[in-house]
C-alpha cells in the first residue's frame, strides 16, 4: 500500500505540532508496511527520509494546466491577501521573523504558468492563502507525475486540503483528510475565518474519509461542518519519545512548581490557571506557579497576576525553545493544561513522560486517551485549585499519578495509532 501525503512542514524545521505529528505518522505507517511519499511546500533537504520519500514542491515545475474543476476552487482563494489571525501554529516571535523575512525575499507574480516553479515559503505567513492555492496547483502536477506510485491520497490540515482535492480530481484516487485542528480551535465561534472554514469544509466534503485526532474534534467536524458521521473516524494522536534523554536539573526553589506551558492565548485558558493559582496560594505557601510561553494574552495575564497580588509566587518565562522546554518540565511538580478547546494537546504527554503528574481540561482531545491525568472542566476553577492543592499536598496522589501516567504515555505509540489509519486506507481500496 502506498500513500501520497500532503503536509506543510516536517522536522527538523517546524513551527508547530503538525510537522511532528506527520513524522510520527509516516514512521508508524512504515512500521506497518505502508509506503509514503511526503509532499511539502518547502523542504530543506535535512529532513529524515528513512521512513518516507520527501518531495519538495518548490522544486516542481507546473506541468499541468488545471482543469476547469480545479480552477474553480483555485479561483475561489486566488489573490486573497490575509492578515495573520488565521495562522494556526506560529508563535508571535516566529511570526514576526517570518514576516520580516518574507518582506525581504518574497516577490510574486500572481500567476504561474506552464513550466514555472514556485518558490514556497512553507511558513504560516501573510500570503498563506495564496501559497495554499499554489500548493494545490503544484500538487496536481506531482500527483500526475507520480500517479503510478501511490494508491491513495492523505492531506494534513486545511493548508493541504486544496492540494489533496486537486490530486484526487486529477488521478481519481481516494482522498483522506486529516483534521489536526479546526477553525473553531483557533478562534471563538463568532470569530471564525470564513475563507479558511470554506476550504476546510470543502476538503472534508470531497474526502472519502475524514480522520480526526480526537472525538472532540470529530464532533466539531460533524456538527459545525455538517459532515456525514459515517465517514469521520477518530485516530488519536500518539507521541514519539525515542532518543529523548532524561534531564538532570538543579532546582533553585524549595517549593513545589506548578507549570503552564503553551501559547498564552484565549484557547489555552491561561486566565483559569491564574485564578486557580490565586486560590491555592491563599491556603498554602509551599508552591510557585510558572507560566511559560508567549501569546496575545500575555500582557493581560501579567496584569491579572499583579491585580491578584500573587506576583511573588507567579512567574513568567516568556517563550521557551528547544531544551528549555524539557528543562521546564523537569523542574515542574505539576503540569496544567486548562485549554478551552484543544483538538488533542500533546504537552501533557510530554510532562507525564518526564514524570510530572498533569491536570488537563476535559475539553481537550488528550483527555480521551489519558486515564491517569487528572481532569477538570476548564471553567471549574475551584476544582482545578483543589486538584493542584491535592497534588502538592498529598504525596501518595502525586506519586501514583506520576508513576501510572509515565507508564501510560510510554504506551501511546504511533506504531499502534497508525494501525487504525491503515485499516481506514484498506476500506478505501
Amino acid at each position: 500500500m502506498r500513500v501520497l501525503m500532503f503536509g506543510w512542514e516536517f522536522p527538523p524545521h517546524i513551527a508547530g505540532g503538525l510537522g511532528t505529528a506527520c513524522k510520527g505518522i509516516v514512521e508508524g505507517l512504515a512500521y506497518n508496511g505502508v509506503e509514503t511519499i511526503f509532499v511539502m511546500p518547502k523542504a530543506s533537504g535535512d529532513e529524515d527520509q528513512r521512513c518516507t520519500r520527501i518531495i519538495n514542491a518548490s522544486d516542481v515545475a507546473v506541468a499541468y494546466r488545471c482543469t476547469s474543476d480545479v480552477d474553480e476552487f483555485i479561483n475561489m482563494v486566488k489573490f486573497i491577501s490575509v492578515d495573520s489571525n488565521i495562522v494556526p501554529y506560529v508563535n508571535p516571535d516566529e511570526y514576526f521573523q517570518a514576516i520580516e523575512k518574507m518582506k525581504r525575499e518574497y516577490s510574486t507574480s500572481s500567476t504561474i504558468g506552464f513550466g514555472q516553479k514556485f518558490n514556497f515559503s512553507g511558513k504560516y505567513g501573510a500570503n498563506l492563502l495564496e501559497e495554499v492555492s499554489r500548493y494545490a496547483q503544484v500538487a496536481a502536477t506531482i500527483a500526475m507525475e507520480h500517479s503510478a506510485e501511490f494508491d491513495l491520497i492523505h492531506a494534513h490540515d486545511w493548508l493541504t486540503y486544496l492540494a489533496g482535492i486537486a490530486a484526487k480530481e486529477i488521478t481519481g484516487k481516494p482522498l483522506v483528510v486529516h483534521v489536526h485542528a479546526t477553525s473553531f480551535d483557533r478562534g471563538t465561534d463568532d470569530m471564525v475565518d470564513s475563507r479558511v472554514y470554506a476550504i476546510e469544509k470543502r476538503g472534508m466534503e470531497v474526502a472519502n474519509r475524514v480522520v480526526t485526532v480526537s472525538d472532540l474534534t470529530r464532533n466539531i467536524v460533524i456538527n459545525k461542518y455538517g459532515i456525514d458521521p459515517g465517514k469521520v473516524v477518530t485516530v488519536h494522536n500518539a507521541v514519539d519519545f525515542s532518543g529523548r534523554e532524561d534531564m538532570d536539573v538543579h532546582r533553585g526553589v524549595r517549593e513545589k512548581v506548578v507549570t503552564f506551558l503553551g501559547r498564552i492565548t484565549y484557547q489555552k485558558g491561561p486566565e483559569y490557571f491564574i485564578e486557580a493559582a490565586a486560590k491555592v496560594l491563599k491556603r498554602t505557601s509551599n508552591v510557585r506557579f510558572v507560566m511559560a510561553g508567549s501569546g496575545d494574552m500575555m500582557e493581560r495575564a501579567v496584569r491579572q497576576v499583579a491585580r491578584l497580588g500573587i506576583a511573588d509566587r507567579f512567574h513568567f518565562t516568556g517563550f521557551l525553545k528547544g531544551n528549555d522546554v524539557q528543562r521546564m518540565f523537569a523542574l515542574s511538580d505539576v503540569y496544567i493544561m486548562p485549554s478551552v478547546s484543544e483538538p488533542f494537546g500533546i504537552s501533557p504527554l510530554e510532562a507525564m513522560r518526564t514524570n510530572v503528574p498533569s491536570i488537563i481540561s476535559k475539553q481537550s482531545g488528550a483527555a480521551e486517551v489519558l486515564t491517569y491525568a487528572l481532569k477538570v472542566d476548564f471553567w471549574d476553577v475551584d476544582t482545578l485549585a483543589d486538584q493542584i492543592y491535592a497534588l502538592v499536598t498529598y504525596p501518595a496522589l502525586s506519586a501514583f499519578a506520576a508513576r501510572e501516567g509515565m507508564a501510560e504515555v510510554n504506551n501511546i505509540k504511533w506504531n499502534n495509532a497508525t494501525v487504525k489509519l491503515k485499516e481506514i486506507y484498506q476500506t478505501l481500496l
Binding site: 486515564t371 499536598t393 498529598y394 501518595a396 496522589l397
Partner: protein, 397 residues
C-alpha cells in the same frame, strides 16, 4: 431429609461525603451530603425496600412462618433509614416480630477495620450488636463482615466475642473442589461454623437475572428451584444485596414477581425448606474444616480485598485515617469518634479503586466520583480537616 435454603440480604447505604474543597479545610467541619443520602435512600425505598419487604411479610404470613430470611445492615445504614425512611424501619420491625427474620451482626460503620485494627473492629462489632438489639429487639447470634471480608483470623476475633457462626464467601479459590453447600469449621476455632455463599446460584439472581445475553434468560422460578433441588449438599446459601430486588434488577425485569413465586414454590416443595443461619447451625453438622488464610471478600472476580486496599491512594487514605486512633482514644470525644467512624465506610475507599479509571466500571458500580482521583482528593480534604481538629484538641489538652 430435605435441603435447606439460607436466604440472606445485605442492606447498605454508604456514607455520602459532600463536595469538600481544600478551601473548607480547617474552616468547615460538615462533611456529609444529607440531600444526596435522602435522595438515594428514598429511591431505594420505592424501588426495593418497601415492595420487597411487603412480599416477604406476605409470604411469611401465608406460609405460617415457613419463609425465613436473614438480614444485615450496618449502623450507618440503620441511621439513614431511621432518618429518611421511618416507614421502612417500621416494616423491618414488623418483619422482626414474625420470628422468621434473623438480623446479623457486622461492623457498625461498614468498615474494613477487621483488616487494620483489632481494637477498632471489636469496638464496632460491639456497637453494632447493641444497635441491632435495641432497634430490632433481638441480639444477633451470627456474624458477617463488611462485604463478606473473612479469614481464619477474622473468624477467631469474632469467636472471642461470642460468635459461633459466620457467613462468608464460598469463592472458588478457597473452596477448590469442595462444595459450599455444606457447613464448614474454622480450623483455628473449631467451635465456629461457617456458612459459605453459593456464588453461582446467588449470582444467577443478583448478576444475571435481567441479562438478556445470558443463555438461561429468562429465568423462571420453576427452573431456578429445580437447580437448587439438583444441587448436592445440605444447604444452599443465597447471599445477595437487597437492592438486587428492584434496583440492580429493575422492576420491569419481573424480579419481584420472580421472587414472590420463588418463595411460594420453595414452601410448596417437600424437598426444600427455608432456614435462618442460626437454625442451620442447629440442624446440620460441619463436614470439614476450611482454612482461609488470606482475607477474601465477595467482591468481583478476584474475591479479595484489592478493591479497598489495592493501590497507593487507598493505602495512604486508610493509613492516615487509622493513625488517628491513638489520639482519639486519648481525647475520647464523641464528635471526633463519630466522624472517624463515618470516614471508615468501606465504600469511600472503594471509590478510589483503580477499576474506576474505566468509565464502564463507574456506570456499573455506581461511584459518585468521576475518577478515583476525585474520590481520593475529596476524601483527603475531609480527612485533613479531621486531622486538624484532632491535633487542635490534643494541643488544647
Amino acid at each position: 431429609m430435605s435441603k435447606s435454603i439460607c436466604l440472606f440480604f445485605e442492606l447498605n447505604q454508604p456514607v455520602r461525603l459532600r463536595s469538600y474543597k481544600f478551601f473548607d479545610i480547617g474552616k468547615d467541619s460538615h462533611y456529609y451530603d444529607p440531600f444526596a443520602s435522602r435522595t438515594e435512600v428514598r429511591k431505594m425505598v420505592q424501588r426495593c425496600y418497601l415492595p420487597a419487604n411487603a412480599i416477604l411479610l406476605d409470604a411469611i404470613r401465608r406460609s405460617n412462618g415457613a419463609v425465613k430470611v436473614a438480614f444485615s445492615m450496618p449502623g450507618t445504614a440503620i441511621e439513614q433509614l431511621e432518618r429518611y425512611a421511618p416507614d421502612v424501619m417500621d416494616s423491618f420491625r414488623e418483619l422482626a416480630q414474625t420470628g422468621c427474620v434473623e438480623f446479623l451482626c457486622e461492623t457498625y460503620f461498614h468498615s474494613i477495620s477487621s483488616l487494620i485494627s483489632e481494637q477498632e473492629f471489636r469496638h464496632q462489632v460491639e456497637k453494632h450488636r447493641e444497635c441491632v438489639a435495641s432497634v430490632f429487639g433481638q441480639t444477633p447470634q451470627c456474624f458477617r463482615n463488611t462485604d463478606f471480608i473473612y479469614s481464619n483470623h477474622i473468624g477467631k476475633m469474632v469467636y472471642d466475642m461470642g460468635f459461633n457462626t459466620v457467613l462468608a464467601e464460598g469463592g472458588k479459590h478457597v473452596m477448590g473442589w469442595q462444595s459450599p453447600n455444606w457447613l464448614y469449621r474454622n480450623p483455628v476455632e473449631k467451635g465456629q461454623t461457617l456458612l459459605l455463599r453459593n456464588y453461582s446460584l446467588s449470582d444467577d439472581i443478583s448478576l444475571r437475572f435481567s441479562d438478556r445475553s445470558w443463555n438461561e434468560w429468562p429465568l423462571s422460578a420453576e427452573k431456578y428451584v429445580s437447580w437448587i433441588e439438583q444441587a448436592e449438599g445440605d444447604i444452599v446459601n443465597l447471599f445477595m444485596d437487597y437492592e438486587t430486588l428492584g434496583h440492580f434488577n429493575p422492576a420491569e425485569s419481573g424480579i419481584l414477581e420472580f421472587f414472590k413465586s420463588f418463595l411460594a414454590r420453595v414452601v410448596e416443595n417437600e424437598n426444600l425448606e427455608f432456614t435462618t443461619p442460626s437454625e442451620a447451625v442447629r440442624n446440620f453438622k460441619p463436614v470439614a474444616e476450611i482454612s482461609i488464610a488470606e482475607p477474601e471478600s465477595w467482591l468481583n472476580e478476584e474475591r479479595d480485598i484489592s478493591d479497598w486496599l489495592g493501590n497507593d491512594l487507598q493505602t495512604e487514605a486508610s493509613n492516615k485515617l487509622y493513625s488517628l486512633i491513638e489520639n482519639l482514644s486519648v481525647l475520647g470525644r464523641d464528635d471526633l469518634w463519630s466522624d472517624f467512624g463515618a470516614l471508615q465506610d468501606a465504600d469511600l475507599l472503594y471509590y478510589m479503586s483503580s477499576r474506576f479509571f474505566k468509565k464502564e466500571a463507574r456506570m456499573r458500580w455506581n461511584s459518585p466520583y468521576e475518577t478515583p482521583y476525585d474520590a481520593f482528593i475529596n476524601y483527603m480534604n475531609v480527612l485533613s480537616d479531621l486531622i486538624i481538629r484532632v491535633n487542635n484538641a490534643m494541643n488544647e489538652r
